[in-house]
């Protein structure tokens, strides 16, 4: 009654103790899986926010590409190009995001320490926009380099299965983790430079060949957007799956705790009845015993 437990000593019910221990271990393990999932969910939600932001930025770039074909913007192509460059820098900033110090899109290279820049790279961020030697096809010389890897990071979501929780660079930005950004650079080059490699002025309009390229770049960026939305959707599915597993584990733990309680906790009502019954028996025994002790022949020999 006082302890609230019906198993005070392991000798009381060895078989039940084995079951209680196993149940406790299962409950504890499930709680650990819930912790794993809880931590992963926060990370996945952060990834979701960043992907939303990146998708919006790519949408903005695609809109700028559309704007470039509009009559009113014919003389503003370098300005539009500059806007694209700024947005690209923001995209790279998003791609270098971390969650509690853990880089989100660089595979298993999750810390800056693990990335060693090699010239012309200048920093340890996983994504970097660098200015390389200009070429005929890349008159700006801009290239985006990815210094991470595309390995999976898994967590244990229950005793039998794992879940990949990271979204890789190639899943968002295509081949090499930079293809989408390279498409943006192509667009930038088209709007900023003429086909001979010289900078475009506000009087240099897009020729027929340029318009054909613009059309192709728009299509590429649209394809990239679809890929990003797909990655975001996969990330959302992971969130849903993990939340479902959490609910399932919560239900399982409620059931396990009930079974455990039945095995080890006191049935207070039954124990109170037993206590009253045993107390009655004790009182009765004491009364009978006291009468037995009084009986002796010597008492009658006075």
């Amino acid at each position: 009654m006082s302890s609230g437990k019906q198993i005070i000593s392991i000798s009381d019910a060895p078989k039940d103790i084995v079951d209680v221990k196993k149940l406790s271990e299962n409950i504890s393990r499930n709680e650990q899986y819930q912790n794993n999932i809880g931590s992963a969910l926060q990370e996945l939600m952060s990834v979701s926010d960043i992907l939303d932001s990146t998708i919006q930025k790519f949408t903005d770039i695609r809109n700028i590409a559309l704007d470039a074909t509009q009559t009113g913007n014919i003389g503003n192509l370098p300005v539009l190009a500059t806007s694209i460059q700024v947005i690209l820098q923001d995209i790279i900033k998003d791609a270098n995001s971390d969650f509690n110090g853990k880089l989100l899109f660089s595979g298993t290279k999750t810390t800056l320490d693990s990335i060693t820049p090699t010239p012309p790279q200048t920093n340890s961020s996983p994504f970097e926009l660098i200015k390389d030697t200009p070429t005929a096809t890349n008159p700006s010389g801009f290239i985006v380099v990815f210094k991470g890897n595309v390995k999976d990071i898994e967590i244990q979501k229950d005793s039998k299965s794992t879940e990949v929780i990271n979204t890789k660079a190639n899943e968002i930005f295509g081949t090499g983790g930079t293809s989408a950004m390279q498409n943006v650079i192509d667009l930038y080059n088209l709007l900023m430079y003429k086909s001979d490699g010289s900078k475009r002025t506000d009087k240099d309009l897009l020729n027929k060949e340029d318009l054909g390229k613009l059309d192709a770049y728009q299509k590429n960026i649209t394809d990239n957007l679809q890929k990003m939305e797909s990655a975001n959707s996969i990330n959302g599915s992971r969130i849903n799956r993990l939340q479902a597993v959490t609910d399932q584990i919560t239900s399982e733990n409620i059931r396990l705790n009930e079974v455990k309680s039945k095995l080890e906790d006191t049935d207070v009502a039954q124990t109170a009845i037993n206590l009253a019954r045993e107390n009655t028996a004790l009182q009765y025994t004491l009364q009978v015993g006291s009468k037995l002790v009084q009986q002796s022949l010597f008492d009658f020999l006075r």
Partner: protein, 479 residues
């Protein structure tokens, strides 16, 4: 036949009834004396006298003998039961101690600590680059190692205590064997001396035999001279007036280093004679627990708590090391083959398990990645965390199942001891009651005897008084 004959009859009657009163008084005085067997006065008629061919006339009564109600059947069964009961009681004491050492049942036992250790790898697998989580793994490992060490130390202490108990019991056995041999001598001597109270020596000897039976299961045989021979598992330790003292001997297995305590009897010069292996009694339980249950190197194949604990520690060391040696720490560029636990070579025990110094001093060195320079790589971390559910971890069981079954076995051992102790106590009470009803003093019966002998004494006195008056009358006839 003269008037003096009647006086003679009365004198014998007075003496006989007075002895009856003495015996009854002695019975009443010993009503609460353990192992006292009540005495009964048996009267017999003295030889009659021939009355001038007219027949025989009785000459009164004398005390023929004092009967004792000692029953060997009960004594033997009670001794056997005492041996079993005390063996179970010691088993119960040891399992209670083990429960306390293992801190079970509780939510802070070794099992929970092992679970927390593996769970810390789960936490770390979410963020393998996180130094504070790496430190947490080391702290959990420290707790685990400390618990193994403290449990091993407590088991050592318990084993030492048993050794002390064994030595005390050997001393007690020797003292009791000597007492039994001495009492044999007194009984044999008393048998040939008239009026000696042999029965009180027999009662005392039985008391000693029962004390002896509590410590070691014995067999007792009786000789015609009233002496007893005592055997422990077939080895004769008391032969009439001579006893064979016991001593302990520590045997070391050179191959395994396993130390076992053996019990031997010796001759009068202290030379060892035979190994004695009591099958019941407190010392049998003590030898079992010292040589098996709490022996860290036990090779008997029976259930040893210490051996199982060592196996558990060894499995943790080997399984975790087998994974960490394939992994990379945060700063490793080449495979370091780093062990998490020591000793890396040979078998670890609950005493020797330690955290490797390279890991203890630098959490960055915990190998969690299966490739260099990948701080987010948690492949090894997950594998270590999943050892908690590895069905081949130890004896084809998960760590938790192994430990739960291990605790269950300790519980079964305790349960068996408690049940045995309760059962033998009940049987013991029944046997004692049955024996008491035969050999014990019944105050009602003694009260009746008291009245009977008192009245008989008064009546005999009355005869003397009457004869005195008759003789007075006869003497006065001549005046």
């Amino acid at each position: 036949m003269s008037s003096f004959s009647s006086l003679e009859i009365s004198k014998r009657a007075l003496a006989a009834q007075r002895l009856g009163l003495d015996v009854t008084g002695n019975n009443i005085a010993n009503v609460n004396t353990p192992n006292y067997s009540r005495r009964q006065v048996n009267f017999s008629e003295t030889d009659p006298q021939l009355l001038n061919g007219k027949g025989f006339l009785g000459t009164g009564a004398i005390v023929d003998n004092l009967r004792s109600f000692r029953e060997e059947l009960f004594d033997r069964e009670i001794r056997n039961n005492l041996s079993r009961q005390n063996g179970y009681s010691y088993d119960e004491k040891i399992t209670n101690n083990l429960e306390s050492i293992l801190n079970e049942p509780s939510d802070a036992g070794l099992n929970e600590i092992v679970t927390k250790f593996f769970n810390s790898f789960h936490d770390l697998s979410n963020n393998p680059q996180n130094i504070s989580l790496r430190n947490n793994v080391i702290e959990q490992a420290k707790t685990l190692v400390d618990r193994f060490h403290s449990t091993a130390q407590l088991l050592d202490d318990a084993r030492s205590q048993i050794l002390s108990d064994i030595n005390q019991n050997v001393g007690k056995i020797n003292s009791l064997l000597k007492d039994v041999a001495d009492l044999n001598s007194k009984i044999a001597s008393a048998k040939v001396v008239t009026d000696s109270d042999v029965q009180s020596f027999i009662d005392k000897r039985e008391e000693k035999l029962e004390e002896l039976a509590k410590v070691a299961g014995i067999n007792v045989t009786k000789s015609d001279a009233g002496t007893v021979n005592v055997f422990i598992n077939g080895i004769n330790v008391v032969t009439n007036f001579v006893y064979s003292p016991l001593k302990t001997q520590t045997d070391i297995n050179p191959a395994t280093g396993e130390s076992t305590i053996q019990l031997l009897n010796t001759d009068s010069n202290g030379n060892t004679l035979n190994y004695i292996r009591p099958t019941s009694g407190e010392i049998a339980s003590q030898l079992k627990h010292y040589n098996v249950t709490l022996d860290d190197k036990d090779s008997s194949g029976n259930f040893s708590v210490y051996t199982k604990l060592n196996e558990f520690a060894d499995a943790i060391v080997k399984k975790v090391n087998s994974l960490t040696t394939t992994g990379y720490g945060l700063d490793d560029t080449t495979p370091p083959g780093r062990n998490f636990f020591e000793p890396a070579v040979g078998n670890a025990t609950a005493h020797t398990i330690e955290i490797s110094a390279s890991i203890l001093n630098n959490p960055r060195n915990i190998p969690l990645s299966d490739a260099p320079n990948e701080p987010g790589n948690n492949v090894i971390a997950l594998k270590i965390a999943n050892l908690a559910t590895d069905g081949t971890f130890i004896d084809n069981q998960t760590p938790s199942d192994f430990y739960s079954n291990f605790v269950g076995k300790v519980g079964s051992m305790g349960s068996e001891a408690i049940n045995g102790s309760n059962a033998t106590k009940t049987v013991g009470d029944q046997l004692s009651n049955q024996r008491e009803s035969v050999i014990g003093v019944n105050l009602d019966e003694e009260a009746v005897n008291l009245i009977k002998y008192q009245k008989a004494f008064e009546a005999s006195s009355r005869i003397v008084s009457t004869m005195n008056e008759i003789l007075q009358t006869i003497v006065n006839l001549g005046k």
